[in-house]
């Protein structure tokens, strides 16, 4: 299998950046070891899709808008009626989902090479993300495990809340370098570490 290359290239610079003398407000990482798969249910097959996702990943996603779960490196969340993002650190994720979900139940698209996964963690994550996306990042409006599909400067992004101060962002791979730089600029005032 070909070795995936990070689209962040020379803009991915590990170390402390921005106003880090005042402390590290955020840690940014690229999750380049995960497979990303989109699963779509047909009308009426959502319960069967959720059962299959549970069988393959062990994550029990509730059937309600935007609901999701994460455990360790595995994640699953809804971002549209009957459509789910499934993320796991295994090369055969698509194959296992394809075995569990026949065409009569739903469709599967491997997005691993089409998206870049960025994790933003730290006490200032809500503050910094609020500069980029016009949605409510408070834990009341965006609970742990839930996912969102929204825009940043007209560019689509999927976001999942992992815990109180951690979010995973899935951006289009071809826009990832530009987004990464914008994220760095937004995070500069709170000081951030790239790992």
């Amino acid at each position: 299998m070909a070795e995936p290359q990070s689209p962040l290239g020379h803009t991915f610079v590990p170390g402390d950046h921005g106003n880090s003398a005042g402390g590290i407000g955020l840690v940014l990482t690229e999750r380049n070891d995960v497979s990303i798969v989109q699963v779509t249910a047909w009308r009426g097959t959502i319960p069967a899709i959720l059962a299959a996702i549970s069988d393959v990943t062990g994550l029990n996603v509730p059937d309600k808008p935007g609901a999701g779960r994460s455990a360790g490196e595995k994640s699953a969340f809804g971002f549209s009626p009957g459509r789910y993002f499934i993320v796991a650190p295994s090369d055969d994720l698509e194959e296992r989902l394809r075995k569990a979900i026949p065409l009569e139940t739903g469709t599967i698209i491997d997005l691993t090479h089409g998206r870049t996964a960025i994790r933003i963690k730290g006490p200032w994550s809500e503050w910094v993300l609020s500069k980029l996306f016009a949605i409510d990042f408070s834990e009341h409006g965006f609970p742990v495990g839930f996912g969102r599909a929204t825009l940043h400067h007209d560019i689509h992004t999927n976001i999942q809340r992992i815990d109180a101060e951690t979010f995973d962002l899935y951006v289009f791979r071809t826009f990832a370098r530009s987004f990464w730089q914008t994220l760095g600029h937004a995070a500069a005032e709170v000081g951030y570490r790239v790992e």
């Binding site: 779509t40 249910a41 047909w42 009308r43 959502i46 808008p65 935007g66 971002f79 549209s80 009626p81 009957g82 459509r83 016009a134 949605i135 409006g141 969102r148 599909a149 929204t150 825009l151 007209d154 689509h156």
Partner: protein
């Protein structure tokens, strides 16, 4: 020149200050800014029978719009979110939205094999 020039607020600034953000409450995503949505046209039109060759009816379907000042039923696409087509009832004068629902529920309900 002598005398003072009275400072006036340019009309553009007045308009900008009075501008309010339009929020659409998507049935899946919740309240979102209008920039995430694309207007998809009048949802009150009825397409003539495809077998019909009635020029007047087709002309009316393609071109005629009532443009009411008040409540209007229209299609919107949540392109920057769940990518679902919505049917929205919006007041054309005030932009107040009185109802939002998935277009598929209204347009294709009961059809077999539809996508979600």
């Amino acid at each position: 020149m002598t005398g003072t020039i009275e400072k006036q607020t340019p009309p553009q600034q007045i308009r900008f200050r009075d501008k309010k953000t339009m929020i659409i409450k998507c049935p899946y995503c919740g309240p979102r800014d209008v920039i995430e949505f694309t207007y998809q046209g009048d949802a009150t039109r009825q397409r003539p029978d495809p077998a019909s060759s009635d020029q007047t009816a087709w002309n009316a379907y393609v071109y005629d719009r009532t443009n009411p000042m008040g409540s209007h039923r229209e299609f919107w696409l949540h392109a920057g979110g769940c990518r679902q087509h919505l049917i929205i009832t919006r007041d054309m004068a005030t932009h107040v939205i009185s109802s939002v629902g998935f277009a598929r529920d209204a347009v294709s309900s009961g059809r077999e094999g539809d996508r979600p």
